[in-house]
């Protein structure tokens, strides 16, 4: 876990005071609405349907227990005692007061947190695989690179007024749990034939109105040139990206208009000026930052434990949870534990202050004091010894954080929708509830297996509906909420965009439609074929026939 040095702390502290002054000038009437809009957005403050909304950065999804406790305290002091984790691993508060935001930022800065560049047309929080550092298949830990990029992108003087927002994700190893192919830039940490570390570079992925899968523009970039290369990409984008239409301003549109080859040529030409320059990251700096992410002091006897087997044999509820909510760890005798923020009742990604405190305590007791937030809007205790799993499960169950649904249909990614978001076309939280009510049977859910359901309240696609195995998009038809369903999307290594199933369905029919869809799957699957594989093999037709035949 990266710990701030004096420089890091100073920048964040000074930024808080700068923002405090901006807020003051705005409230005194000395800063126009338009000016302040741009400034507050670059500090994560939206004005929404109900109230302002503050988005706090969780850099690459890692937190200490101290930080999580501070988030809990903030939610109590300035908000309504809860927060909301997003698909980009940040946390949002839905009820802060505009005039209190500077104080919130002061409290955040005390624990090395901030809201810098969590919205606005600038470089956003870099995200990564939530199993970074504990995955057996990763080539190298992506987190040091995320931190180096965090520093480079923070208050960058040239790239604060880009055509549109800019999001970077990094992953390493064969699985892609960070949706890198639908980011403005996706970086895959790899080794070349000589064993040197570097990145495969993708650009131009993104969802929203014009969903696109990113294109590879460089097979191998030496790792120490990542800053110079990003600088080249950003400069080309800043100069050439469209500014006449905000729906055509993302880098994906530029890459598409020029063609990936021509875009790459521009970047490479710019990079000629930058590579090998002082932007090249020094070996010393790479080592300094990497030292914060060295493996924990793991118990070498952890695998000798026999109690886990006992609990698995005697407690079927625990076993369900173990199977769905805990994951392989590179160290024998350890598991990574997902804390499910997808309860039977409640909005996906929401967490109360009490729950935050509890998770912080469990992290202190069982997982080296660290917590991660995931792209799927859950939390993760990455390093739990197997002998402690049962205690962790009991504590999580008590706090309603142990629903055994990770990776299943009800582990939905859902945006706030109409209840909180002023851009929404339709509600999402009521539909999530309808789905939860209809699919509460654990055995049935587990039988359906891995299914990624993503639901957005409008075409901005905050919940990545295009890349859900099942995607749901809220649309407005003459003032009524309707829902368009897509099938076959994926944001993983085999990324693809979902195909529309057919006409949109009414709000009260969403869960029934899903039921028919999944019955069709159960009938048509071969052996233990996964839902996504079944859809890919058969196409949407058989599903469409069944779904609309009944209606």
């Amino acid at each position: 876990m990266y710990i701030y040095n004096d420089v890091d702390q100073k920048i964040v502290d000074e930024r808080v005071e700068q923002y405090r002054d901006q807020t003051k000038r705005y409230l005194e009437g000395n800063l126009s609405d338009d000016e302040f809009l741009a400034l507050r957005l670059m500090n994560g403050l939206y004005i929404q349907r109900q109230a302002p909304m503050l988005r706090v950065a969780i850099p690459y999804g890692t937190m200490t227990s101290t930080q999580l406790r501070a988030l809990a305290a903030i939610s109590r002091k300035y908000d309504r005692g809860y927060g909301h984790f997003t698909t980009r691993t940040n946390i949002q508060f839905n009820w802060p007061k505009l005039e209190e935001v500077p104080d919130i930022l002061t409290d955040l800065a005390k624990v090395q947190l901030h809201a810098i560049q969590t919205s606005g047309n600038c470089i956003r929080n870099t995200t990564t695989d939530h199993f970074a550092g504990v995955s057996a298949t990763e080539v190298s830990d992506p987190r040091p690179w995320c931190e180096l990029i965090r520093q480079w992108s923070t208050l960058h003087p040239e790239f604060a007024y880009l055509p549109r927002k800019f999001k970077i994700a990094i992953t390493s190893g064969p699985e892609d749990r960070a949706a890198t192919q639908v980011h403005d830039v996706g970086l895959h940490l790899i080794k070349n034939a000589q064993g040197e570390l570097g990145f495969e570079v993708l650009v131009g992925g993104g969802l929203g109105r014009t969903p696109k899968i990113g294109k590879v523009i460089r097979q191998f970039l030496p790792a120490n040139e990542v800053i110079s290369y990003l600088e080249a990409i950003l400069r080309v984008y800043n100069l050439k990206g469209r500014r006449d239409n905000k729906y055509k301003a993302r880098i994906k549109i530029l890459v598409d208009a020029l063609g990936a080859d021509a875009f790459r040529d521009l970047v490479e030409e710019e990079w000629l000026h930058l590579k090998g320059s002082d932007l090249q990251i020094t070996q010393e700096e790479i080592e300094r930052v990497s030292d914060f992410f060295t493996p924990h002091d793991y118990n070498t006897e952890a695998a000798a434990d026999t109690t886990l087997d006992h609990y698995l044999e005697t407690n079927s509820e625990f076993k369900h949870w173990y199977q769905r909510n805990t994951h392989q760890h590179k160290v024998p005798g350890y598991r990574a534990v997902t804390v499910s923020l997808k309860p039977q009742l409640g909005a996906p990604g929401d967490i109360t202050a009490l729950q935050m405190d509890l998770v912080a305590e469990l992290a202190d007791r069982y997982s080296f004091g660290q917590i991660r937030s995931t792209h799927h809007q859950n939390l993760l205790l990455a390093d739990v010894e197997q002998r402690n799993l049962y205690s962790v499960w009991l504590a999580l169950s008590d706090a309603n954080l142990a629903r055994a649904n990770i990776g299943t249909l009800t582990d939905m990614i859902v945006c706030p929708g109409f209840d909180f978001c002023s851009l929404a076309n339709a509600k999402t939280l009521n539909i999530a509830q309808q789905i939860n009510d209809a699919f509460d049977d654990v055995d049935y859910l587990h039988d359906l297996g891995d299914i990624r359901l993503n639901m957005s309240g409008c075409i901005n696609a905050c919940a990545h509906h295009h890349v859900g195995h099942i995607g749901i998009l809220g649309v407005d038809k003459k003032g009524e909420d309707w829902y368009q369903i897509t099938l076959g999307g994926s944001s993983e290594a085999d990324a693809s965009l979902g195909k529309v199933l057919g006409r949109a369905v009414a709000a009260d029919e969403v869960a029934d439609t899903l039921k028919r869809l999944l019955e069709t799957y159960v009938e048509l699957r071969k052996g233990d074929e996964l839902f996504i594989d079944c859809v890919r093999r058969l196409g949407v037709e058989p599903f469409k026939e069944r779904v609309y035949a009944v209606a």
């Binding site: 420089v7 920048i11 000016e35 520093q151 003087p157 040239e158 500014r243 002082d278």
Partner: protein
Amino acid sequence: MPLLKHKTLVSDDPWVFQEEFSDVTESSIVVPFTQLLQQVTIAQPQERLGVRLSSEESLDDLIPRLNQVSLVEIYFEALRDGRGFSFARLLRREGFQGEIRASGEVSRDRLDYLYRCGFDSVLLQAPIDAEQAQTAYQEISVHYQADARNDQPIYRQTL
């Protein structure tokens, strides 16, 4: 309009903007880029000629003519239009030694970024007092990135 030069409020600005190019004047003139492009020969000495380039115009087309001017005024068409920041950096990289000036939709809360990208002067639309201007440049005192003022990123700076 207040003019800040090298972070300081100045009152004597030798430059006057002229919609149309006129050859050999005594004053220091700034003309639109389209006007400069139309001139085949230019008698106005380089020291007294400046050009205004809008962020909608092509920096690439200006570069071959940089030896004709000693001031480039980059006109920001909109608050959210950040192209000018990159223009300034590229001008410096091209070796342009003259003054780089920002005008149009620029304001106090962008002063430091402008300076770091290589702008020497800023023509502001709103009034500003000397103290405010000072503060604007001092709000953030350490920087992670290399920029036009310092080619050393944080990992090469000796603090």
